[in-house]
Symmetry: D2
C-alpha cells in the first residue's frame, strides 16, 4: 500500500532530508512540496540529483486550504511558524512536525520514537523531538529508567554540526570563512531546547531535573551531534551498558557501543549510538549520544514516526547503512 | 531473485562503499567479505552502523580457494594487486573489479556503463573505469561522438576529494592537519589514469588523443570529483548541451545541466552531472563533469555494472537521492 | 620614522587582514579605521585578539571630509564602491586600493609589486591587482617576458578558498553547510578578472591575449589560491624554472619551486610560489602559481605597495613565516 | 642583544610553530634545528615559506654532544622521549621543554606563564604546560584563587583541533577522510593530562581535586582548543568575570570576555580567552578557555617562557594579531 505524502518547508535542510528519505521509501509517494524560499521552482532545480520521477514536481507556496489529497504531511518550519501554519490542515491528514512548536502540546504525541513507540502508533499528530533532545534523551533514558543517574544535576555538553543552525545567508556568523576552523559555544544557560529536555527527564525518572545544565557548541562540520553528559550515580560502566542493552533490546535504531561513539558513524542514517563510562569512586556517570542532526535529529526520526502512525514497519525506508567516509 | 555477493577489499573506502550500496540493494545479498586490514573482525566492528542482519558477518583473509558459493564478487584492491588476487577466482563467479589492473585487458569488458551498457551486459568480467576517467569520459563522450571537440589537445584539469587518495595512515602527507585548508596539484604530466583516458578518447572519437594533458589536484573535502576540460571546437554551448541530452536520453544516471555542476550534487549517489560552455570565437569548448569518486567513480558504477551483468534493472539499488547538505 | 595609517573597509576580510599586518608593521601606526558594517564599534569588539594598544580604536563611518591626518590609506571596498568613496580623499594622503575600481585607470599605478616595483615607488595612488591576477601574472610574467609561452590561447584554471567570495551572509550560497565538502565552478567565460589578466598579459608579452580562458572554482577552504595555467610553447621544464629564477632573482616574495606548490605553503604570508612543468613534444607549458588570496592577493601586496610608495624596505612588516599547519 | 636559539623536534607541529615564532622574534636567532623525520634536509625543504635567511639551515640528527653554542633550546618531542634526550644538554643552555616529560619534575619550573611568571623568570629549565592544561588552568586560576569554585567535582569537557594529535601518518585514524566531518571523544576517565591538571588545581586552591573529570574530543579543525568547565559555586557571572579581570590585570596574553570565546579568535597567537557564566540558583559556575593548541598551548607559551628566563619583555615576538579568518 502506498501513502500520499507532502512536505512543507522543503527549502530548509530538514525538509530536504525528508525529501531524500521519502524518495527511497517503499510505501511513501511524494505528491506535494511547499516552501517559501523555493516556491515556483521544480524540485530538480532545488535538488539537482533528485530521482527523475520527482524532478518535475512543482514547489508550491504553502496554503493549507489548497492541499491535494494527502495521507501524511511532514512539516519542517522555523520555530514559531508551525503552530499557525498547521492549524488549518484537515484533520484526516496525519502530521509529523519536525519543528519545535508542538512539543509537549496537548493532542500532540511527543515523538521520541525509540523510547515511546507505543504512544506514537495510532496518533495523527506527532511532534518530533529537537535534535539535541533526541541525542540526549536516547542516551539518558536507560539510566533514568533504572535509576542509575540522579535526574538533578545533569550537565549536558552538546556539540552540533552547522546544518543545525539552518541554511546560511540569514546570518553572516554562519558564512564558511567565519565558521570553518572555528568552535563556538552559544546559548549558555538559556538554550531553547532546555525545557524540553528537562520535561522529558522528569517524565522518564519521576524526579526533578531542576539543576539541569545544557551548553551547545557549533562544530565546523555539516552534520552530526555528539552529547557528552555528566551525572552523578554509583553505577559502573558495565551496569550502564547493560541497562541500555536491555532498554533497547529489539529496537532497530539505537546501537549501544563499548567504544565512545563518533558522529560520522551515524551520517545519513536514522541511527543513534549511545555509550557510557562511569566511576563509582567519583560518583560519576558519563553518557554519550551520537545522532545525525538531520537524521535521528530531524527527518529520520520523522519518517520513523510516520511509519508508526501509518502502521508500517518501523524501519521502512530507514534501513540503509550510514554513508562513510 | 537474489544474488549471493562478496567483496574483497572491504577495509578500503571503495570496498566500504560497495558494502553500503549492497546492503540496500533489493537483489543482492552480502554473504562474504574479505580484507587484509580488518580480517578477523565482524563487519559491525569496522562499520558500526551496518544493518543488524550484516553485523555479525566475519571479515575473512582473502583466499580465492576458500570462497563460499558466490554469484558476484566485487574487488576493490590497490593497483597492482588485483591481477594476481583474482586470477584463481572460479570462472562461474562474475567479477566487477573496481581496481585498476584489468582496464583494457583482454577478456575484461571496460565498464563505462553509461556509455557502453550493451557491451557490458552478459559479460562475466568487468573492469570499472578509474574515478577520474569516469568523470572525464562521461562529459566528453557526447562531444567526441558528434565531433564537437578535437580529440587531440584536450586539457583536463581534475580536482578530487581526499578519499580518492585511499585510507590515511600509509602516508603522513594525507593527515588531516596537513591536507585541510590545502590544495595540492600532483602527478603532473604522468598520472596513471592518463593512458586509460587517452585510449577511451580514441575509441570514442576515432582520432588521436596525442596531445592529452591531465592534471589532478587534491581538494580538502572527503568525496567528489570535478573535471574541467578545455578543448578546441566550433560548437556553441547549446549545441554541446543538446548533443549530451541526445547521447544520454533515457539513461538513468547522467544529468545534463545548464548550470556548472557542483560536487555536492552527487554525494553518495551514482549520478554524473555534465555541463558545457563554449565560445566559437575562441575556438573553445569547456566540458565539466562531476561524480562522487566513491559512487560513479567506484562502487556505484560497480553496482551498475553488476546489475548489467546479472540482467537486473540498471538502477536496482541505485535510485536514491544524493545526500545534501 | 612612523607613518600614520588608516583603513577603510575594516569589516571585510581584506580590511581585517590589512589591520593584522599593520599591527605588526615596524613603521606603520594604525590611527583610523572605517567600515560600514562595524561603525561605532571598538576594534576589539570586531577583532577580539587585536593588540591591546589598538583595542579601543573606534571604527568610524566612512567620511573622506573628516579624516584625521593620514600618510597612507588602505581601501578595501566592494567593487564599484571605491571610485566614489576615494574621490575626495586629500591628495597628500597616499592610497593603496585593494578593491577593483582603479586597476588600469589613469593616474593610478598598477600594483603588481613583484613584477614592476620601480613603477610603483614614488607614486601616491596604487591599485592592487585582483587576487586571481596576482597569482596568475606572477606565474606567467617570466614566461611571457622570455617568450616561452604564447600569449594567445592561455587557459587559466583557478581555484580559490571561500574568503575570496567575501563575508558570508550576503548570500545563502556561501553558508557553511552549502559550501563545505563542495567544489563549485562559476563565472565561466565571463569572470570580472579576465580583462585585467588579458591587459597585463599583453603588456608583459607585447602580443595579443585574444584567446584567453579563465575559469574560477570555489574550494572548501578559507584561504588560498592556486592557478593551473596551460599554454603553448616549446620550452622545457628546466627552461621555465630557470627563466623564473632569473626574473625573480633578488626579489623577496616570489619562490620558484621544483615541486608543484600547495596553497598552504603561503597561508598568512605575502609569498607567491610558482612552478612549471613543460613538454615540448606536446607543445605544452604548465605554469602554477600559489598565493594567499588575503596576503599576496590582497592585504599583503597592499602593504608591500605601501612600503614601496613610502620609501620603506619592501619587506617591512612582511617577513614572517607562513602559518603551518 | 640577540640570543642563539635551537629547536629539537622541528619535524613536528610544535617544533614547526616554534620555528615560525622564532623567525619573527626580535631577539632570537635560530642557529640550530634537529629532527628525526627531517634530518639532512634544509629548512626550506620542510618549510617552503621560511624566510630566506633561514632557508639553508641544515636540519641535524639530534645529538646533545654536538650542539653548537646555544643560549636557549626549545624541545618538542613526543611524550616519553625528552627526559633521556635532554639529560645531557649542557647546563648553561637554557631549556624550554614543550613536551610532557618534565612537568612537575624537580628542578624544572612549571611554565604556566600567565599565572606564575615570577616563578619562571631566572630559571634555566622550564616545562611547558600541556595544551589542555594551558586552556583549562588559565580559565580556572582566578576562580580557584578567589574560592569561587569548589576544587573538587570539576568537570572539564575539552575540544581540540587535530594538530593536537600530532602529525598524520602514524595512525590511519587521523587521515583526512576519517576525521573530517567527524567528532570523536577519547581517553575517557584516563587522559594523560589529568594528573597535571589535578596537581595544578590543588596548588591553586589549596584543596583537593579528587573528583576531577576530564573528557577530550577531537574536532575537525586544524588548530584550537576550547574547554568548557562545569563546577560548583555560588558566584554570579559578574563576580567571576571581575575576579578574572583582577587576576589578569596588566597581563598581556589573557583576554577576559563577556561573550563566550571562539577558537578562531586565538589562531596563530599566544592569546588565551576566558569567559564565565554562572547561576547561583543551580550552584553552577561555567568557565570557558580558548587557546591555539600550538600557540599558548605549545610554542607560543614556550617563547613566552623563554622571554621570561632570558630577561626579555614577555611579549617579545608575540605581539601580533591572530590570523582571521
Amino acid at each position: 500500500m502506498s501513502f500520499r505524502v507532502g512536505i512543507v518547508g522543503i527549502s530548509g535542510f530538514g525538509g530536504g532530508e525528508a525529501m531524500r528519505l521519502i524518495a527511497s521509501h517503499p510505501s511513501f509517494e511524494l505528491v506535494y512540496a511547499a516552501g517559501e524560499g523555493s516556491a515556483g521552482s521544480r524540485l530538480v532545480e532545488r535538488f539537482p540529483g533528485v530521482p527523475a520521477r520527482l524532478a518535475e514536481l512543482r514547489i508550491e507556496p504553502w496554503d493549507p486550504e489548497a492541499l491535494p489529497k494527502l495521507d501524511v504531511l511532514f512539516a519542517s518550519l522555523p520555530t514559531g511558524m508551525s503552530e499557525t501554519a498547521l492549524a488549518r490542515v484537515p484533520t484526516d491528514v496525519k502530521i509529523v512536525d519536525i519543528g519545535g512548536d508542538h512539543r509537549y502540546v496537548a493532542h500532540w504525541a511527543y515523538g521520541l520514537a525509540d523510547v515511546w513507540p507505543a504512544q506514537i502508533a495510532g496518533r495523527t499528530r506527532v511532534a518530533n523531538p529537537g535534535c539535541f533532545p533526541a541525542a540526549t534523551l536516547t542516551a539518558l533514558a536507560p539510566l533514568l529508567a533504572e535509576r542509575l543517574i540522579e535526574p538533578g544535576n545533569i550537565v549536558i555538553d552538546a556539540k552540533t554540526g552547522l546544518s543545525g543552525a539552518g541554511r546560511g545567508g540569514a546570518d553572516s556568523r554562519f558564512g564558511y570563512a567565519e565558521t570553518n576552523e572555528n568552535l563556538v559555544p552559544y546559548g549558555l544557560l538559556e538554550h531553547v531546547h532546555m525545557p524540553e529536555i528537562a520535561e522529558t527527564i522528569e517524565r522518564l525518572s519521576g524526579g526533578s531535573a531542576a539543576g539541569l545544565v545544557f551548553t551547545p557548541h557549533l562544530v565546523p562540520m555539516t552534520r552530526g551531534i555528539l552529547v557528552t553528559i555528566y551525572g552523578r550515580g554509583q553505577a559502573t560502566t558495565s551496569q550502564c551498558l547493560d541497562a541500555a542493552r536491555r532498554f533497547y533490546a529489539g529496537r532497530a535504531f539505537v546501537r549501544v557501543t563499548d567504544r565512545p561513539p563518533q558522529t560520522k558513524w551515524a551520517t545519513g542514517s536514522n541511527l543513534a549510538f549511545v555509550s557510557y563510562a562511569a566511576d563509582p569512586a567519583r560518583n560519576l556517570v558519563i553518557a554519550m549520544g551520537v545522532v545525525d542532526n538531520l537524521g535521528k535529529g530531524a527527518a529520520g526520526q520523522a519518517v520513523q514516526n510516520a511509519n508508526l502512525i501509518c502502521g508500517l514497519p518501523e524501519t521502512a525506508g530507514l534501513d540503509g547503512a550510514p554513508i562513510w567516509p
